[in-house]
């Protein structure tokens, strides 16, 4: 009855406005499209003039420092390769990322592009980002566990498949199931809490210095924001780390709670992601002309949205899918 009423409402709306919505644009597809937009932005950032200088190769080579030889050697090899074939390889990297974004957004190629994005993300996480510094002292405020691994995680969680006969309580559970999705969430946010409390990150000046260092090359208003945040933190690294770790643990545990409490945990996750992106990552340094991606803040927020409890849990959200058409 409710669905018949909704259908008739939708038909009336179409008659009134003369437009049709795209088929299969449900909550998961919307999140896929946001992921596609971030990939597209990544690709365009990779075409920036600074990426064609020596900085890019040095940045890759720098991520090998401190990693064990088995991890560091391939990174150094990749850095040398990029430095020798800078223009060609950077253009290839940029184009791959651009195509991943376009491919995920275009329905017929969405699956292929999502699969390719997983492989690409894993390769970049190792060969380009040194496993996001997780073995060498990563900080959740500066982008741990590496933004690019979050792309892979999102591609897995937003994979366009539904488990037959299973009612999914949130979008991220539709492909992998709720237990696996919750476990992945726990591992991610739990590890961020751990990183927040490592000795290097809880030192008195660490957080202050980290935020101050982000203001270089930024427009005045970003510098002002960073300076304001840094001014509140001098010598308070331990307190700030404990507060951050408690918030991250609450977020990690949130998805195991009943929906009303889970929503609170997810709102906290969105707040933490915003704090990290604005103050710790300076909006991914997108305005400096030297960013390769928007960093982890937007991806953490996107993940939180994928875990938002569904009002009508389960499948069959693809109201606009045509008969016989698989949801994207």
């Amino acid at each position: 009855m409710i669905s018949a009423r909704a259908e008739s409402k939708r038909v009336r709306r179409r008659e009134r406005t003369g437009v049709t919505t795209s088929p299969g644009t449900d909550a998961r597809r919307v999140l896929q499209l946001i992921l596609a937009a971030i990939w597209l932005l990544d690709g365009m950032l990779q075409y920036q003039p600074s990426m064609y200088g020596t900085m890019f190769g040095q940045m890759i080579g720098g991520s090998a420092a401190g990693n064990p030889g088995v991890i560091a050697d391939p990174i150094s090899w990749n850095a040398a390769l990029v430095e020798h074939h800078q223009v060609l390889l950077n253009t290839v990297f940029a184009t791959i990322q651009l195509l991943l974004g376009l491919g995920i957004a275009y329905r017929p190629t969405a699956r292929l592009a999502l699969a390719a994005s997983i492989a690409w993300s894993l390769a970049v996480w190792w060969f380009g980002e040194g496993l996001g510094d997780v073995l060498t002292g990563a900080s959740p405020v500066s982008g741990a566990p590496g933004a690019v691994i979050l792309y892979a995680l999102l591609a897995v969680l937003l994979w366009p498949t539904d488990r037959p006969g299973v009612t999914a309580p949130f979008v991220a559970a539709r492909a992998v199931g709720a237990p696996v999705a919750r476990l992945l969430w726990l591992v991610l946010w739990g590890s961020l809490a751990y990183f927040a409390l490592t000795p290097a990150n809880r030192a008195p000046q660490t957080l202050h210095d980290m935020i101050v260092s982000m203001s270089g090359g930024e427009p005045g208003w970003v510098t002002w924001l960073e300076n304001q945040a840094a001014a509140a933190l001098p010598g308070r690294g331990l307190t700030a780390s404990i507060v951050l770790a408690v918030a991250l643990i609450a977020v990690a545990a949130g998805v195991f709670l009943p929906p009303p409490l889970a929503r609170s945990g997810l709102i906290l996750a969105l707040v933490v992601a915003a704090f990290i992106w604005v103050f710790g990552e300076a909006f991914g340094q997108l305005l400096t002309g030297g960013a390769t991606d928007p960093n982890s803040g937007p991806l953490l927020a996107l993940l939180a949205l994928a875990y938002w409890p569904l009002a009508t849990a389960g499948q069959g959200e693809d109201h606009d899918a045509r008969p016989g058409e698989k949801p994207a």
Binding site: R16, T20, A37, M44, L286
Partner: protein, 232 residues
């Protein structure tokens, strides 16, 4: 240190192609003869945008000073704002939200910003060596630096959102990608199959197909966002 000229050339070639396709659509559909001229407006916009962006990317293709382009896109933006207002009055806000005018308004505003930012005094950090059409160029020899980079990023993000929106939308779902005015070819006209031959008729159908319009829209949004980001 700059984005290689051949990459800029590829994007410029894509924009020239979009301009040519838009010119072809205008001629074939005779969109200017339609009521209100809205179909003509969008096709003319794509034509102008294609030429203008190609001129930014490859200075040799620049045919007008930045100030003239800025004025042209101010007129186009006003035109789309008026179309939006009219659409809202006639069909309501929901139709406006799903219609083609909001994306075109955003694109024309982005073009206006781009040329206004290029026509202004030298941006901080640029060498100010001068260049084609009054542009200020980076010392690296690449594209000019834009003023107010925050605005450039905001427009780039909006254009990326438009790209994603257009790609996700089915080409033939509704009239969204038929803004150039696709209509049956009257018998006896120059473009009817009997008169022009099957090849011309197929070319006409191809040029006016929603998929081609969609491709042009996506190409424009991607290239505009690309230009804005590499000039931040």
């Amino acid at each position: 240190m700059s984005t290689p000229a051949w990459i800029l050339g590829i994007f410029a070639a894509m924009m020239v192609l979009v301009a040519e396709v838009s010119a072809g659509q205008l001629m074939i559909a005779q969109a200017w003869a339609r009521r209100g001229g809205a179909g003509a407006g969008t096709a003319v916009f794509r034509l102008l945008t294609g030429i203008a962006i190609a001129g930014i990317l490859v200075p040799g293709l620049s045919i007008l000073p930045n100030a003239v382009w800025g004025a042209a896109f101010a007129v186009v933006m006003t035109w789309f704002a008026w179309c939006l207002w009219r659409e809202n009055r006639e069909r309501g806000a929901a139709a406006v939200a799903h219609g083609p005018y909001v994306p075109h308004l955003v694109q024309s505003a982005a073009m206006l910003y781009m040329f206004a930012a290029l026509a202004g005094p030298p941006a901080a950090g640029s060498s100010g060596t001068g260049g084609m059409s009054g542009m200020e160029w980076r010392s690296s020899g690449g594209l000019p630096a834009l003023h107010a980079p925050t605005l450039a990023l905001i427009f780039a993000l909006l254009l990326i959102a438009l790209t994603i929106h257009d790609l996700n939308r089915q080409a033939d779902a509704d009239g969204y990608f038929q803004v150039a005015g696709r209509r049956p070819v009257p018998a006896g006209t120059a473009l009817a199959p009997a008169a022009a031959g099957p090849a011309a008729y197929t070319a006409q159908r191809l040029l006016l197909s929603p998929a081609v319009v969609k491709g042009c829209q996506v190409a424009i949004s991607v290239t505009m966002a690309f230009v804005l980001i590499i000039m931040i």
